[in-house]
Structures are given as C-alpha cells and as structure tokens.
C-alpha cells in the first residue's frame, strides 16, 4: 500500500491533460472517428504530386485557349491575307523576312497567303469539339448500358448477341458506310462515330461491373438490404471512376485520329468547315513542294492528342483510390 498521496497540482500537468468528467451522449457515442478523407481532394493531391502533370496541364490550357478563345478574338478568313504572290506558300522563316513578325504568319502561309497558324487553330477547334462530343456521347451511353448489361442477366443475353454481331465488322467500315449514306457534315460525323462506338465501351464496362458486382463487400451490402440502385451508385461507381477516366483518355485522341483519317480519304466534314483532317488532306497533294503546310497541322494534331491522352491517363491514375495511400 502506498501511503503517500500526491497532489495532482504538484505534477505540473495542464488542465487539458487531465481526466475530466464528460456527459454521456448517445449520438456522440455512435460516431467513428477517422482521418478526414475527401475523394476528389485526394485525387488532385495525388495528381499534382507529379510535377510533369503541371506541365501537361499548362500545355492543355494553352491548347484550349488557342483553339477556343483565340478564334473568338481573331476572325479567320482564308483570303484575309491575300496580298500578292510573294506571300503565298511561305515557310516561317520566309514569312518573317517578307511580312515581318506577325502572329498569323508564325507557321508560315499557305495557298493564297492563308495563315497556317490561324487555320490550324480553327481546325483544331472543330476537331477537339468533335472528339469531346463523340467521347461524351459514347462514354455516357456506354457506361449506362454497360452498367445495366453487367447487372441484369436478361439484358446480358440480348446485349452479348448484339455485341457478337456488331463486333464482327470493322468499326471503320461502319463509320464510312454511315458517312457515305448521309451527307458529310459535323453532325453526320458525330452520328457515324457514335452509332456503334458506344458498344465497345459498354462491353468493357460490363466486364468491369461483373468483376466487382459479386465481391464480398457488395454481397454484404446486399444482405444488409441496400437497394441495387444504391449499390450501383455508392459501391460500384466510385470503383469505376478511374476506369472510366482512363478509358475516356484513350477515346478522345482516337476520335481526333478518326477525323483526320476520314477527312484524308474524303469522307470528313463538308466543304466549308475547317478541321485538322481537312487541312492535312488539302496539304497532302503538295506535300513534296510545301512540306511545311502538311507537317504543321500534323504536328499540332499530334501535340493535342498526346496532351489530352497523357492528362487523362494521369488523372485516371490519380482517381484510383488505391494510389491515395
């Protein structure tokens, strides 16, 4: 038995370090404490941890400024710079010598003195819009149908048959046939690229859903009586976010690629629309004579596609909760 009692005040503890009486609260006792976790906050924290992503984002911002804001400020007219023969088909170096420094002639001039810089960004606007619209439509339909396809056994039977039929034909063939049937325009191109384009995405999502659907935590959730809708929304969708973002990142450049190829074989947009593909097609004829006019839109198209792809991939990586540790 220790007879000596020590006065608490003598130990020199502050008031907070000592036990004190606390009223019992039923609500408070139910709370579980964990470090604060916000999904999107973590996503961006992981995303910006990589320094290369800041560089990519800056490039992406520049691309968007030049293809969406620049055309609003500068009105592009193919014949606006029509001066004399001396300003036709100039390389950037020659343009600097003949015209002097001018943002329009930064990439030289094309036929009838057309500014390649302006036309490329005007074309980029069409191409990027097309890629984003097609990707948005295909992803939306693909993810929704893919989720249903994965969940419902009845839909699975029907959709698998549909997929087996459609997947036998090369995608490009279907796209080309549809553009041929309808008259070429922006809407036609969107329609042709999306009419069966969602099917591959839906199939991919279906496989992912089936993998996750029967995991133990979902089984437990079902046993506890969670509705299917809530399981889909709260248990499965967060898991799919990174998959969807990664998929979208690969989709967007592929539509830019399709547009370029379709325009190249003369199945692209209508005559009065400018796009990267059409510029490439137009410059292809005189490629040996004026290689500059051909490679400028090709280079810009490649830069745009790579930037979009890398940004999307890295965002996809960052949105995977397993990288948040």
């Amino acid at each position: 038995m220790n007879e000596e009692l020590v006065k608490i005040d003598d130990l020199g503890f502050s008031e907070e370090e000592l036990f004190s009486h606390y009223d019992f609260s039923e609500i408070e006792s139910e709370k579980i404490t964990a470090p604060r976790y916000s999904y999107w906050h973590s996503v961006f924290k992981v995303f910006f941890r990589k320094k290369v992503n800041i560089f990519i984002l800056t490039l992406l911002l520049l691309v968007i400024i030049f293809s969406y804001i620049y055309p609003l400020v500068v009105s592009f007219d193919q014949y606006a710079l029509l001066r004399d023969y001396e300003t036709w088909h100039l390389t950037p170096g020659d343009a600097y010598r003949v015209i002097g420094f001018n943002i329009h002639t930064l990439l030289g001039t094309g036929d009838t003195g057309m500014s390649i810089w302006d036309s490329t960004w005007y074309g980029a606007r069409t191409s990027i819009s097309l890629a984003f619209i097609c990707a948005a439509i295909n992803m939306l339909i693909g993810v929704l149908i893919g989720a249903l396809w994965g969940f419902s056994k009845k839909i699975d039977i029907v959709m698998t048959e549909v997929y087996n039929v459609i997947a036998n034909v090369p995608y490009l063939l279907i796209v080309m046939v549809f553009i041929r049937i309808l008259s070429p325009s922006f809407i036609t191109l969107v329609f042709a690229l999306t009419i069966t384009g969602w099917l591959g995405i839906a199939y991919f999502i279906r496989t992912q859903v089936i993998i996750i659907r029967d995991r133990e935590y979902n089984l437990a959730s079902r046993c506890l009586g969670t509705s299917l809708f809530r399981i889909a929304l709260k248990n499965i969708l967060p898991f799919m976010t990174s998959v969807i973002v990664t998929l979208a990142a690969a989709e967007i450049p592929s539509y830019i690629s399709y547009e370029v190829f379709l325009s190249y074989i003369g199945l692209g947009l209508s005559a009065n629309e400018v796009s990267l593909g059409k510029l490439i097609e137009a410059a292809n004829g005189a490629m040996n004579q004026f290689p500059w006019e051909f490679w400028s839109p090709v280079a810009i198209a490649s830069i745009i596609a790579v930037v979009l792809y890398v940004a999307g991939q890295n965002l996809g990586d960052a949105s995977d909760p397993r990288t948040h540790m």
Partner: protein, 524 residues
C-alpha cells in the same frame, strides 16, 4: 469439343448473315441509287432518254429493280406463239408521241400497260425529244418500258442463296453438242504429252474444272465459285471474288498452247477459259486458237492479286511484330519503372495518342530519307524495297500493342502467389520469367495470333491508302469513295467472316496451349 465448335460456327455464320443484311439494308435503302453512276464515264456521255434507259438497265443488272422493255415483251409473245413474227415488226415501233401511234400499236401498248400494271409495275413512256421536226435530239429516241422495285428481302434472299454456285453441264443454254465431264491425265494445255491431270467440261461455264499449273497453290478449281456481288465502278461487271483474287499489273507473255495446237507467246491463261455464246466465229483470231466457244480467258499478269499483296505485307509485318514486340514486352516488365520501361511506355503513348495517319506519314518521311520507295509500283514487281515501308508502318503500331499488353499481363502475374512461391523455392529470376510468368502471360497474346494472321489479309486500310498498295484495304476505301455498293457489301462479308473465323481459331489455339481451358463442360 466438336459439338461446342459446331455451335460456335453456326452462331458465327448467323451473325455474318445479320451483319451483311444490316449493311445491305443501309446501303440499298439509304443511299440514292443514282450515286452509283458517279464514276461511270458512259453515263456522263449519254443524254436525254437514252440516259434514263441506261440507268434503268444498270439498276436491273445490279438488282435494284425488275425491268421489262416493250420490245422484250413482244419478243416473249412471239416465243409463246401469241403473236406472229411478222406482226411484231408492225407493232414494235411506237410513235414519237402517244397520239402518233397506229391503231395496232395503241392496242398492244394498252395490253402491255394493263398487264404490267396488274403485276405492280410502273409503266413509263418516254416521248421522243426532237431537235427539228424530223431530227432526234442526241439520245432522244422514244422508249416504253415497265419497272418494279425489288423488295430488299427478295434481294437478301437472292444474295445468300446465289452465293455459292456449282458449275454443271447444263449451264450453257445454247446447243453445244455432247454435254459431259471428262478426266484426262495429259492436259492439252501442256501439249498433251506432259503428265498433268485435269478435269474438263463441255456445257459447263468453265472449260477446266480442275487443273494443275506452276502457280501457287499449284492445284486450281473452277467447280465451285463464290459470288459475293458485282463491282460497278472499281472493276466493272466483275465479281468481287475475282476482283480480289485476279492478278494485277502488266501482262506477262508466256509460251501458250491453244486448244487448236497453235503455240505462241501470249498472256492468255487458257485454263481460265469460260463460255461466251457464239464467240469463236466472231473473229479469225479466235478461230485460229480455239476449238469451241470457251474463249474468254483471264490474262497472265506479273503482279499478285489484291489479297496477295495484302497478305504478303500483312503476314511479314505480323511476324515482325511478334518477333520484336514480345521480347521488348518482357524486357519492359522485367525492368519495370526503369529507363527501358519508360522509353517503351513513351513509344506506346506515341502510337496510341498520335493520329495513325500522322505517324504513318512520319514513317514515310523517315523512310524516304533513307531512299526507300514511298509508293507501291506494281509494274516494278522485282523491287523488294517497295515492300519495306508498308510492312514497317503496319508492324510498328502492332509492336506497340503487343508491348503494352504483354507488359501489363506480366506485371499482373508478377504479384501472384505462385511467383512468390517459386522465388522462395530458390528459382532464378530468369527461370521465373521465362518458364512461369511468360507462359501464363502469353495466353491472351496467343489468342490474338490467328486474328493477326487472318487480319493480314484485310490489310491496313490506312497503310495501303498512304502507300498506294493495290490491296484489299485500299479496295474498301476506293469502293466507298466511288459508291461501289456491291464491293462494300462483299468486303463487309469478307471482313466479318475473317473476324468470326479468327476468334474461333484463337479460342482453339488458347485451349491447346492452356490445359486449364476446356470447351466441353463435362471435362471439368
């Protein structure tokens, strides 16, 4: 296993039918049928009424409608005995305008109209278009005909039922003498002394039904022919099977022995002779060479067929892709997150993100720096260098694909328990990678091999277009630009068949390599 495969094959065939039906419905109902004349030189030349009649006859030939000309109807009446031959001449010429008809003509025109209207036809009378009172405008002659659109179901049925034809001795309608099939051990095309078995027919479409020659695959048959549609503008009036299979390029002179025994240097391939009614007596040239009406021959040409070019380029490039892509994929997986892996990943991103047209042009530009030919010259068939760039352009993207997936599969395998177990058992890293991980990771890659080989026949649509390779990939793009609907349908059928077959073959190959995969449910 066999039962399963049979089921797969039937389902595959069914889905091919559905695909072709969909494509046909799209093309034949939604594309304006006038578009098929877009590249027709004759169509741009003919004028006025003649142009309209030309359009209708073409449409009949390409299965859009049934067409009956007034004169043909009269001829049929004469044949069936309802009309005397001398009366026909009286009523055959209709008036320049309806009111100019004689009473007899009016009567027959009325009967013609009534008969075909009751059958659901539309009767069309094109009145003469005159320049002066007596002189016709160019092509302005008067015409009378009836036409009826063919329903698409009818057309689909005809397409699939008429797809395979077996040559028989009742093919020729005219009198041709004794109809028979003969077997000979000494093919007359080689002079009759050399041992060369052949089966020949009389009354059949083809003279030679089976024969040997010194061209790959050495034995050839004409007994069963595949009709997958007629080409309109790409290869006028020729079936798509022939369009894809017949040799191209410039004619090649060979020592040819004709059926009459005449021997000369010529490009005629007498083995391909087909029947053309009353063709022998048309000219002295055919009389000197042929003993019967089997006079239409295919010419020897120096180039390969469209499938041939696509196949050569495709097969070499897929070999190259597997040969290079797999080792690089393994190296990348072994050096994960190191420099080699990063370089490889950069290349993969480049191929995925950059538009395919852009990098093919890039390869072309780089190739031309080394002095490689950038366009395919069929006439210059001896020059092997022209194959280099198409092969490389086709191989480089598939190398990226192989690298990407093999690396992914191997990295996934690297964390599995059996690898940890093998490592704890003391196996060397080399052994683990080559004997265990690669074996497991290669299974999905093996699945794609038949697809790559058969896909090489399809040819790179983009590559062939850029390098002007006269292959099947180029055929599709030119068919679409030229509104050659028959070719589009035929090529779609061809592609769909190849896809179905390659997926089934891939499954079989995968089951052969991996004993865990079994198609029969009982075995488990």
């Amino acid at each position: 296993m066999t039962k399963y495969l049979l089921k797969r094959l039937i389902r595959g065939a069914l889905s091919i039918v559905v695909v072709v039906a969909i494509i046909m419905i799209l093309i034949y109902t939604l594309i304006d049928r006038k578009n098929i004349f877009a590249q027709d030189a004759y169509w741009t030349k003919v004028q006025s009424n003649q142009k309209i009649v030309y359009e209708f006859t073409r449409w009949e030939e390409y299965g859009y409608l049934d067409l009956v000309m007034y004169t043909d109807w009269l001829n049929d009446l004469v044949k069936s005995g309802d009309l005397a031959a001398e009366d026909r001449d009286k009523v055959a010429t209709i008036g320049k305008k309806a009111e100019n008809d004689t009473a007899e003509v009016t009567e027959y025109v009325r009967r013609f109209t009534e008969y075909y209207k009751s059958q659901g036809y539309t009767v069309k009378r094109l009145e003469a278009r005159m320049m002066t009172a007596t002189k016709y405008l160019n092509g302005g002659k008067e015409y009378l005909f009836a036409y009826r659109d063919k329903p698409l179901t009818n057309r689909l049925w005809k397409y699939f039922t008429g797809m395979i034809t077996v040559d028989n001795i009742h093919y020729v309608e005219e009198d041709i003498g004794e109809r028979k099939i003969t077997f000979t051990l000494h093919d007359p095309a080689y002079g009759g002394d050399k041992f060369a078995p052949a089966i020949m027919g009389n009354g059949t479409k083809h003279k030679y039904l089976l024969y040997f020659d010194n061209n790959f695959p050495y034995i050839h048959q004409n007994l069963v022919t595949l009709n997958i549609g007629l080409s309109y503008s790409i290869n006028k009036g020729i079936d798509i099977t022939n369009t894809m299979n017949d040799p191209q390029g410039k004619q090649e002179q060979r020592d040819v022995i004709y059926p009459t025994g005449l021997r000369e240097m010529s490009a005629d391939n007498v083995h391909t002779a087909t029947y053309v009614a009353e063709s022998r007596d048309k000219s002295v040239i055919t009389q000197e060479r042929f003993t019967d009406d089997y006079t239409r021959v295919v010419l020897y040409k120096s180039g390969f067929s469209k499938i041939g070019y696509s196949f050569i380029i495709g097969i070499i490039s897929s070999f190259l892709a597997y040969f290079i892509g797999i080792p690089i994929g393994v190296i990348m997986a072994r050096n994960k997150d190191k420099l080699l892996d990063k370089i490889g990943t950069f290349y993969i991103i480049f191929i995925i993100a950059v538009p395919s047209l852009a990098y093919i042009f890039m390869f072309r530009a780089i190739g031309s720096l080394f002095g490689l030919p950038t366009t395919f010259m069929m006439e210059d068939s001896g020059n092997a260098l022209m194959y280099v760039l198409p092969i490389v352009s086709l191989a480089l993207p598939s190398i990226a694909g192989l690298m990407r997936w093999l690396r992914r599969y191997m990295i996934d395998q690297m964390n599995s328990d059996y690898v940890k177990f093998a490592r704890s058992g003391g196996l060397s890293e080399n052994e683990i990678f080559s004997k265990h991980i690669l074996k497991n990771a290669a299974i999905p890659i093996i699945h794609g091999i038949p697809g790559a080989i058969l896909g090489s026949v399809v040819g790179g649509i983009i590559t062939e277009r850029v390098y002007v390779v006269p292959g099947t990939g180029n055929l599709l793009t030119s068919a679409i630009s030229a509104y050659d609907n028959g070719v589009i349908v035929g090529v779609a059928l061809f592609y769909a068949t190849l896809t179905v077959v390659s997926i089934i073959l891939g499954d079989i190959l995968m089951a052969m390599f991996d004993p865990r995969i079994s198609f029969s449910t009982k075995a488990r």
